[in-house]
């Protein structure tokens, strides 16, 4: 396909109280088109706080985070990540995360601009590479359960967001209201060699290979600076574990030393089947069209989707047809289906100003759900 343009999509996750700082930094960097999504981050509560948290068994601290994402040219990716790390002190644990994943921008509305950074500052911040994102869609209320694996293994700080599931449900007529559509999407970013183990543990905990439980998939992330603050509470040491990690990172000059070697998560007899060779096919459009367009995609062969609300922001006050209220519909489809579905969406008005759609595609090396008996 000739239309695919290779870009990078940068995700910046910060606590809500840093939102102003983050927006200022992005505006200064010359980023004009971006999307924001609400999410909640999970951290473990340390011993000292245990008595306080008598209400929740899980001992989790939940905070509201904002997830900014924007598209830029791949050649800028590392520079942008380093720049924002410097500006927002993301290397200090607890300040937030940033990562960049390569995407192919299959189609996009003419209103969209590929962000071109300016005023980049030179920064030598350490950046982890070879990361894997794990996204897991489960029923609302189950998100924490699976996401906690990231905390208990010390591999990632999970972020959970809300979504609406479509698929089987939409084919039931009005009976659909009996099946809750609300989903939770838990996203973790881990090192490549930990990814399979973490994913397997999540599948076990969430019984994701059982019918009706959910869906989990991996996606490659080129580089990022990740939040290593997995727990909150009073520290009893002179330096917190996170501070020690960041100090050793600096001494070692890389994050390589942090790689964990898990004992191969082999349960012997159980051979799990995975889906491979898929792509994450994300459709972003003005609010109100997500569902109809997803329907079109499903007619063209997609299996189902999770739709989430996004907010579009134009930091430079450009007039465009893009509505501030946006939706993202994430479908996981076979590589071979991309063309048909793209065409179907295009012919159904994806690029009209009213819809102002865009399509982001990135590979999904491994996925798992109930595959039938």
């Amino acid at each position: 396909m000739q239309n695919l343009s290779k870009q990078t999509k940068i995700h910046l996750l910060v606590d809500r109280i840093y939102s102003k700082a983050a927006l200022d930094a992005l505006a200064e960097l010359g980023i004009s088109d971006l999307h924001v999504e609400n999410g909640r981050s999970l951290q473990l509560l340390q011993e000292a706080d245990k008595q306080v948290a008598f209400t929740s068994k899980a001992q989790l601290n939940e905070e509201q985070v904002l997830m900014f994402s924007f598209v830029s040219n791949r050649s800028w990716a590392k520079k942008i990540v380093q720049h924002l790390t410097e500006k927002l002190s993301l290397n200090i644990p607890g300040k937030g995360s940033i990562y960049a994943k390569d995407i192919e921008l299959a189609l996009h509305t003419s209103s969209l601009e590929i962000n071109e950074p300016k005023n980049l500052i030179e920064s030598e911040h350490l950046v982890s590479s070879d990361l894997i994102g794990i996204a897991c869609v489960v029923q609302k209320g189950e998100g924490n359960h699976v996401a906690q694996i990231g905390l208990s293994t010390g591999t990632a700080m999970p972020v959970v967001s809300y979504g609406i599931g479509t698929g089987l449900r939409n084919r039931l007529g009005l009976w659909r209201i009996l099946i809750p559509a609300e989903k939770e999407v838990s996203t973790l970013v881990v090192n490549r060699d930990e990814a399979d183990t973490v994913m397997d543990m999540m599948i076990d905990v969430g019984q994701l290979d059982q019918p009706g439980k959910g869906f989990i998939f991996q996606f490659p992330i080129e580089l990022g600076v990740l939040n290593t603050k997995f727990s909150v509470g009073e520290s009893k040491q002179a330096a917190s574990i996170e501070q020690i990690i960041s100090a050793i990172d600096t001494i070692q000059g890389s994050t390589e030393w942090r790689r964990k070697s898990f004992s191969k998560h082999s349960e012997g007899e159980k051979q799990r089947r995975y889906l491979t060779g898929l792509v994450d096919f994300s459709l972003i459009c003005n609010e109100g069209f997500g569902e109809t367009l997803t329907q079109c995609a499903m007619e063209a062969g997609a299996a189902g989707a999770t739709i989430r609300h996004l907010k579009y922001m134009s930091l430079h006050d450009r007039k465009s047809s893009i509505s501030p209220a946006r939706e993202i519909s994430v479908m996981t489809i076979g590589q071979a289906q991309v063309e048909t579905i793209t065409e179907a969406l295009k012919s159904n008005g994806l690029l009209t100003p009213e819809v102002s759609g865009e399509l982001h595609i990135n590979p999904v090396p491994k996925a798992c759900t109930f595959l039938g008996k």
Binding site: Q64, S323, P324, G349
Partner: protein, 700 residues
Amino acid sequence: MAKSNSTISRMKLSVKEKLNLLLPYFRKKILEQVKAVALIVVYLVIFQTVILGIAIAEALIISLGISVIVFGLAFFMEGLFLGLMPLGEAIGIKLPQKTKLPIILGFALILGIGVTFAEPAIGVLQMAGSFIKAWDAPLLFLMLNKHAGILKAVVGLGVGLAVVFGMLRFMFNWSLKPFLYIGIPAALLFSLWAQFDPNMSKVIGLAWDSGGVTTGPVTVPLVLALGIGVCRVVSKNSTESGGFGVVTLASLFPILAVLTLGLVFLPSVPTPSNQADFFAKDNRERVESLFESKQAMIGYALRNASVEAQTKLFDGDRVTALDYIRSLKINTTLREQTLASSDPKALERWAISNGDYEQRLVVFGSDQAIKQAVEAFSTKQIQQVDFADVSLRNGLASLQAILPLVAFLLLVLFFLLRERLQHPDEILLGVFFAVFGMFLFNIGIELGLSKLGNQVGSALPASFKRIDLNDQRQIIPNFDESVVLTAISANGEKTRFFYTNLNGAYVQVPYDQAKNDSDQRRYNFVPSKGPMFGAEGNAGGIMLVLLFAFIMGYAATLAEPALNALGSTVETLTVGSFKKNLLMQSVAIGVGVGILVGVLKIIYDIPLIWLIGPPYLLLLLLSKVSTEEFVNIGWDSAGVTTGPITVPLVLAMGLGLSSQVGAVEGFGILACASVFPILSVLSVGLIVNIKKKRTLKVAA
């Protein structure tokens, strides 16, 4: 344009599969509501039977009513989330994109006025003021009766303006705080001034209560959803999740509106005075202006005032007064105008319940006829519940509350915005659920919760004073004055009493000459109860009442549908990091405290302004240091607390207490129940923020 007709085959479900889906769904929704309602019901039942030790009358109907509430709430909430809220949000998103500001504001104004008329909150206020007497509070009487329509319109205008300013706030990203800094002190100063005018002081309670009751279970979710929709589109370059604040303004503006209305009527009304002076000749013209007509005034006096005061209406001439009553017997139109009833027996009924001996004589003619009539009217005491009537009334009320509003929104969507509905089947089903749910829910309230609340409410004063249990009245036949004994008190005062055998227990009953019908040898026995801890007005009894008030407020709030909707909305907007439960618990505790304070107001007759002034001033301080988000949520939660579950219970308790302690008006509890939840929510917000700052400091 995306096409909508789907070629994807519809899946057919077998009956068994449908049941497999339906049953767990149903069980979940019902259980949710059982949990919500259980606390308040169990609490009321235990309080009445175990603590007050009074059996529950009509237990069967009450338990039926309560189970209907559970189903009603389940349907109503589902209807909100399926139909009304998505509709509101859809319009909110499209409105700023497709129309201009003046049209949005016009829409907001109509919507605000519309919701006030749809939700008959004014009825609640009229009930709260039902036993105020014209001579005690003429201005209040005028506003609740003759000018009730104007009152309603003015409150509606207040809510309309609130929605208008709410939209302006969203569009231009204004903070809520300036509205509070100006509005609250203005309302407080106005009330403070009003406190020193004998007429206006009675209106303060009405004004502050009307702020609380205007925002009902349909208005709040709808306005909230609309606001969230608008905010998702207009709040440019802000990451705040907005949409709150309209409810606050809709509580604030009506206060000012009602006080202003009072000011307008003030010059024309008579000053409060005793009955005789009130109906005297030189006061006549002003008093007459309180009523629809001269006849209505006379009728009111006949029903409510003493015979002496009634005679004043006929310039002190007793004969003219009796002549007037005689003329009522013949002149049907005059009777209907005077007694405001088309019942041909209205005059007789009035004579039995209100008339003195001479008046009865005029109506019935002879002593014998009076005796017969008294017997005839007093035998049909027990009222059967008329299920057809209850269903019809509540059915109409719920249709009226929801359908016109939905129709208006759909018209706006189709014709003004030229949009289609995303899931028309789902939304229509939701609207149907909402109407049906509200219908069941209202029936349940009327048959179950209100009755239970009334029983507990009227028995409650038994904890600190002696009260008569009128629903357990019985007639003792073969009564003979020889069973009456005499007792003497420590200071030599003699009182008479007798023993009666009540279900095997010998009970002392104070003898009351008036209750003894010596001709028929019958004693009209009304069992009484209390005071529970020693003397009348003892501290223990009052503590018990306060404890009751607190727990009742707390438990009832947890069952409120509007608060549930608000809590869910907050939780969704913050992706679960602000838990619904935390919000509901803080609000419920606040309401509990508020109702406790309101009860203090009634028992000790403390002017409302002294009870709500200081908390509101403290609130302004707290709002100053709180984040914009918490200020919005905190103040909004105040508006939603007083809903269909709390209000009947609070009113029942308030009326029960007021009539026992002799207060002029039962207003003010709701106003108290509005201010304290704001305090608790803002305090919780501050604590959460301080904690968070500390953990972030550790990080840095």
